[in-house]
Amino acid sequence: MSGVQFPASHEAADRLRNRPDLRAKDPVPALPGTGQGETGPADKRILVSYGFWIYLLSDIVLFSAFFAAFAVQHGASAGGPRMPQIVDVGRAALETGLLLASSYTCMLSFAATHRKNLLWTQIFLAVTGLLGLAFVLLEAQEFFDLAARGITPQRSGMLTAFFGLVGLHGLHVSLGGLWLGTMMAQVQVKGFTTQIVHRLTCFNLFWHTLDIVWIGIFTIVYLMGGAS
């Protein structure tokens, strides 16, 4: 493993793999440094990713409020255009493809990080950023197209909820891109210090979470909304 420390969950998985007699229902002894049971405080890496997970959960709650608003208002078109008239499923599918691909390259960058390979980490991070940028540009194009047809959030409650939910996700992706740029600069200048690897872990979690949220938006807003 060339000195790269796997997270504790990997170690636990390895141990289970090497011990076929250990079944899942047997009590697995707690690993030191994970903060489980009576083992004492977890180490920094566990703390950082755990805390960031909790933040991500709170972010999902934030999105859920906007999803709820869309669910309440998707029929409130106030005499204006209705959902099927504004949805372009083709473009949304393309956006989905771009975002899923970016999640894949993001994961590849993390694999490279694990191998402490600076070049491939940077390459895959750059590709992730470009795919994300393409996603944001497509979304901006969609918004401008709609605005050009006079379809703006000020028109109706339905459009407000639509632009709000999709826009919030777009804002997250854009901020993620900003973060990604900062990370690439840090990796380049400082290399793989412990802190930087922790931050890359958080960035990965963030990026994948945005992907999951987008799956919800694609399904509920574009597929179901476009069909209704």
């Binding site: 009576e38 083992t39 805390g51 709650v61 906007f66 608003a69 000020q154 028109r155």
Partner: protein
Amino acid sequence: MTVLGKLSLSAIPLDQPIPIITSMVLLLVMFGTLALATIKGWWPYLWREWMTTVDHKRIGILYGLLGALMLLRGFADAIMMRTQQAASVGGGTGYLPPEHYNQIFSAHGTIMILFGAMPLVLAFMNFLVPLQLGVRDVAFPTFNAVGFWLTASGALLVNVSLFVGEFARTGWLPYPPLSETGYSPGVGVDYYLWAVQISGIGTLIGGINILTTVLKMRCPGMSYLRMPMFCWTAMASSLLIVAAFPILSATLAMLTLDRYVGWHYFTAEAGGNPMMFVNLVWAWGHPEVYILVLPCFGIFSEIFPTFSGKPLFGYRSMVAATLFICVVSMMVWLHHFFTMGAGGAVNAFFGISSSIIAVGTGVKIYNWIFTMYGGRVRFEVPMLWSMGFIVTFILGGLTGVLLAIPPADFITHNSMFLVAHFHNVIVGGVVFAIFAGLEFWFPKVFGYRLHAGWGKAAFWLAFIGFWVTFTPLYVLGLMGMTRRLQHVDFPEWQPWLLISMAGVAILLAGVICQITQLVVSYHQREALRDTTGDPWDGRSLEWSTTSPPPSFNFAVLPRVESQEAYWRSKQEALAASQAGDAPELEPFEMPRNSAVGFFTAFFAFTFGFAMIWHIWWLAIAALIAAFAGFVIFAWRDTGEFEVSAETIASAEHQRQLARRALMEPKA
């Protein structure tokens, strides 16, 4: 469009004497303090030790200071409301213009809940959780500082509204469509939105931090079922923060979009849905009550065993009740609008789920009573507050169950009965707990006890004052008086309003006693010094270190083998008549101070103020500066320093001395 947006000299209410005089006094006090600090040369100390601190104990103290100041501000609002209503019966108009009165009741609610109670509860969580878990720090110390300073800048925004512009006139939850631009064109609602949004993000940060700390940072041996009750409740409260505060952020963001760019989330026209706001805001607002009260239950769960000399009765049932309340509190929000036409089935579901919370709370009340039963109860000041709490809170709970019955709620909805009920639970539950906790942990925080005589006077005045103030409001509610009245049409209500006003006077005397107690105790601090670190014969780990604790809490992480870890080790040491072996000392790392919290909050405040007054360039500049600050902070290489061996050894030596002092028989 001018450089300063909507801001002009006319924003300062020069024609209204009350806000002008108040803000002049506030400004004098503020500039006086700043000038004093400058003359005395305190700034380097304040900057180094407080403004850039990442020590969870100091952040706890800062939260406490902020909360206490805001509590006083909210109390001043309360005095004005009660006197205004008592003075404006019949044809009278009282002394407050209606639009000013409306701002006062909105500010009172907002400040008391979000900037008074919330920081005070977070003060206890920050100070106590790592100490009770036997660890040196919270999970994210710097992040923790960011959370505090964001809360403080939100509080600052609310108070700026007193002097520059106005505050919301919509009540403490700005219901649309009243809070939409059409009906509230001024900056009042905008002040509310940005202040609460910024401090809400601060609270979310605090919640994430405490939750990670409890779940991942307990000292060796401290399994979940050996955690002190306060840590359980802090964890439950943090879970609720993480689940509920994002809903608040989303709701406020939606209302902001409505107001600033003409969207239609909550407008009354064009497909907006005002009812959606009410649903969303209470989906946060109801859990918020439990975010406040659960840690307070934790405080009482520490005080009752200590002053009864017995372990907490039914520890596991207490844990179960806490988690039960935590979950169910997320399912009851609709009882806040039974009368808004949800229909019988929905009302029945929410009525029953609301009443069921009383089961969990009942378990707790019985456990506290049984903890006292058969114990050696010492009637120290913290215990007085706790027993006063039981009496007060039970009545608040009973009227709560009454309100949870939809048909009964149709009669008492929006009445003074409701006002009395929620003050009954919030004052009885939260404020009493805060004062109980203040008396209990003050020696741990500052190294000396509080003067007991003034403490008892404060308790009795507050307890009696509370009942005299709020019992008449129950009566008035049943007589049909609705809340938020600027003037009162029925002369037969006046006697009750006068009694209530007299109650506020008694409460004021209590507040004065409380402040006197702090001053007197400070002057007698040598006589009241706590040399043992354990002035009350405590049971959990915070009492095992010195008072006040060293910046790293413990020279050596404790090793826990049972519930009530410190009590057990004290008993063993007493049995063996010796203080135990000196542990092996190893150097460790602690986080460095950081200015990032202060700067983030500074830019957040600037951004909020710029947005309120539509000063777009300043808002953009603040955002860019905040991002630059983030990058600069992230570029830092070493966030930690190693504590020197001598420091550790001297702290451990002091602790050993303290423990030996405990071994000696009491004089």
